[in-house]
Structures are given as C-alpha cells and as structure tokens.
Amino acid sequence: MTTLRADRRFSWLRSVIAVYAKDWHSELRTRYAISALLMFVVTTIAIIMFSLGSEDAPPEVLSGMLWVVVFFGAMSGLARTFVMEEERGTSMTLQLLTGPSAVYFGKLLFNLVLVFGLNSVTVVLYLLLINGFVVKTVSIFLVTLILGSIGFAAAATIIAAIIARASTKGTLYPVLSFPILLPLLLTVINATRMAGEGAAFSEAYGEFQLLISYIVVVIAASTVVFDYVWKD
C-alpha cells in the first residue's frame, strides 16, 4: 500500500519533469521565447541608455527601471508555453496524458528557468552598461532577485494559462498581469533600492517575508484554480 502511494508520487514528479522536458524540447527547436526575451532586454536597455545619454540618473530611478525591463521582458515571452499548446492544438493530448497539476508545475518550472535566465542576463547587462547603478548590499540584491524571479514566474504562469484561452492573447497578457504583479513589483523595487543604498541585510527581512508569502499564496491559489482553466 505504502509503496503504491510512493510510486504514485514518483509518477507525478515524473510527469512534471516530462512536461518540463517536452517544453524545453519544443522551445529549443524554435527558440521563440528565448530570442523574444533576449531581444527585448537588449532593446530596452539600449533605449534606456539612449534616453539617459551622458546624464546620471539617481540610483532610485535606475533600480525602478531595472524592474520595468524585467516586467515587460517577462511579458514578451512567458505566455509562450501555454499559447503554443493552443496554437498547435496539442492541449487536448496533454490533457489526456497527464493531470492538471503536473501540467501546471511543469510549465511553472519551465517559466521559472526562463525568468531566472532573463533576470541574470538583464542584471549583468544593466550593471555593465548603466552608469550610476550600484549595488552596495549584494546579499539583499541576490535574495531579492531570486525571490522576485520565483514570484514573477508564479504569477505569470497562471495568467498565461488564462490568456491562452482568450482570443487577443498578446495585448491581454500585460493588462491582466500588471495588477497581479504590482504588489511584487513594489516590494522588489523597494528592496533593490535598499540594496543600492547599502542597508544592512536584516533591514530587508520585511520585504523578504512579503515576497515569500506572495509566492506561497499565488502558487497555492493557482494550483486550486488551474483545473478550471485547463480543462475544457
């Protein structure tokens, strides 16, 4: 009995990994999401550099702008994983092959890796290219980046699942995501500013608590309601 239950749990985990691996397979075939994200980040940072010229913007503004790049970058590519299923007509097959929670967590994992990649590239480029953006407390910055990425992926995944079923997918995605992501955005912008000002690590505990509870709440709510979005 217990081995059966353990077996079932492993099979769930295997399905999650399988969905994730399948998404990477088809992503690497076209590189649609990766190139969209990369080009978006490069373009936006270039625009910021042009508009700043040789001026030095205050660090608070720059730390806010970093997350503007991340937000719209994420909006350009993260819906792909669900939209693709609808466009190719493969969502029905996936529904037959595995349960909704395996699909959700597989896609979440896929988006998580994408967001981590996106954020790493963005931050490296940003630090290299934008004068005046300094990080004094690296620990706060790193934790903010990691928690912020998870939160982004969590909210972006369930919204992507919703808009994949709607008719105007592209424009609807940022519209639906923004109010959901705003608590996260305000918190990470605040934490990034603290990192730039050189605050002690313990000062940012409140921000981290908020980020962690946001992640937990969004993922928990998503697992509950995902069924209704996914099934026809």
Partner: protein
Amino acid sequence: MALRILLGLWLAVVIVLGLGLPMVAEPQHWYDLPIVPGLEEKARIIFFHVPTAWLSVVGFVAALVYGIRYLRSRSIEDDSRSAASAGLGFLFCLLATVTGAIWAKSSWGTYWNWDPRETSIFVLLLIYGAYFALRSAVEVEEKRASLAAVYAVIAGVTMPFFVFIMPRVIASLHPEPILNAQGKIHMNTAMLLVFLASLAGFTGLYYWMWKVYVKVEQLRRRIQQPTGG
C-alpha cells in the same frame, strides 16, 4: 415599486441633509454637524465618497464570491451575478476615484499624489479593467465565465498584500487615520446618522441596480436562446 420610491426618497433626504445641515464649531442642536479640523466644509464629501469606495470593494468581493460559486455550480446565472457585481463595482470605483481626486485637490492641493489609498483604488480600477478586457476576449460563454472567475480569485488573493506593502512605501495623508486617530470615529450623532443613512442608501441603490442588471442579462439570454420546435 414602493421600495424603489422609498429608496429614491431616502437618498434625496440624505443628499439634502448631507449638503444642508449647518457646520458649527460647537454643536448644540441635534442637527448641527461638527467642524472637522483641517477639512471644514469639505468634510461633507465624506457622505458620498466613503459609500462609493465601500461599494467598489463590495462589488469586487461579490464578483469573487459569485465567481467561486460559478466554478462549483457551473450555472450561468451565477456568472451573470458575478459580472453584474463587477460592473457596478467598476462604476462605483470610478465614482470613488473621481470624488477622492476632487477632495484631494481641495485638501492636499493636487488631484493625484499616489497616497496609499489612491494607489489601492487605482489597482482596483486596473483589476476591474483587466476583468472586463478578459471577458470581452473570450467568446464561448462557459469558458468566459470560468476564466473570469479564476482571474477574480487570483486578483482577490493578491489584493490584501497592499495593506502590508503600502505603509512601507509611502506615508498616508488620508483623513481616515486622522478622523479615526484614537480608534473611534470622531463624529457626533448627527454626522454619524447622516453618514450611516448614506451608507445604507447607497448600498440599497447598489442592490437595486444589481438586481436590474441580473434581470436584464436573464432576459437577454432568454431572447437569444434558439427556440427549437
């Protein structure tokens, strides 16, 4: 019919009293309103601004609750109740934003300064806007209903974060912390009575409009339904 006339009379009386009762420094008669320091005559807007803000939250919660009920019952009735709540909530949210901005202009000198309250009502507006954008983008009725309900749930669970986040970002100038400083409401009986009457009147108005809205949806569905022989 009688109830509708009563509601109209009630609201008319509330409006006349709210705008007409004298404001004096030391209230002596039962009908005197006290002067709220820093707000003076402008404090009268409280009789109209607070009910609209209250109803914009009520509309959101009702849309959420009926959305969840739809997900469980799968009856399209619940979806039109949810949509009706959201529609009215959006209307009152707009009214609260406008009355709030007017009040802010006269008290703080600017229509908009991203006060925590202004930010949260703005987010509520965005959520309502996104909700209707989503509804209009889905053609199949059942799909539209369940997607809208799911979106309301996701928005509903992230909204409470603003309560914790906003104080960290910016300090408030909103009179609620000032009017309500010691945890009790600084209103005398006359003011409180008009205020509560207005709250009740507007809530009644909301309920009546909501029922009309639901009824209209019901009739429209009945007309559109193909009458098979």
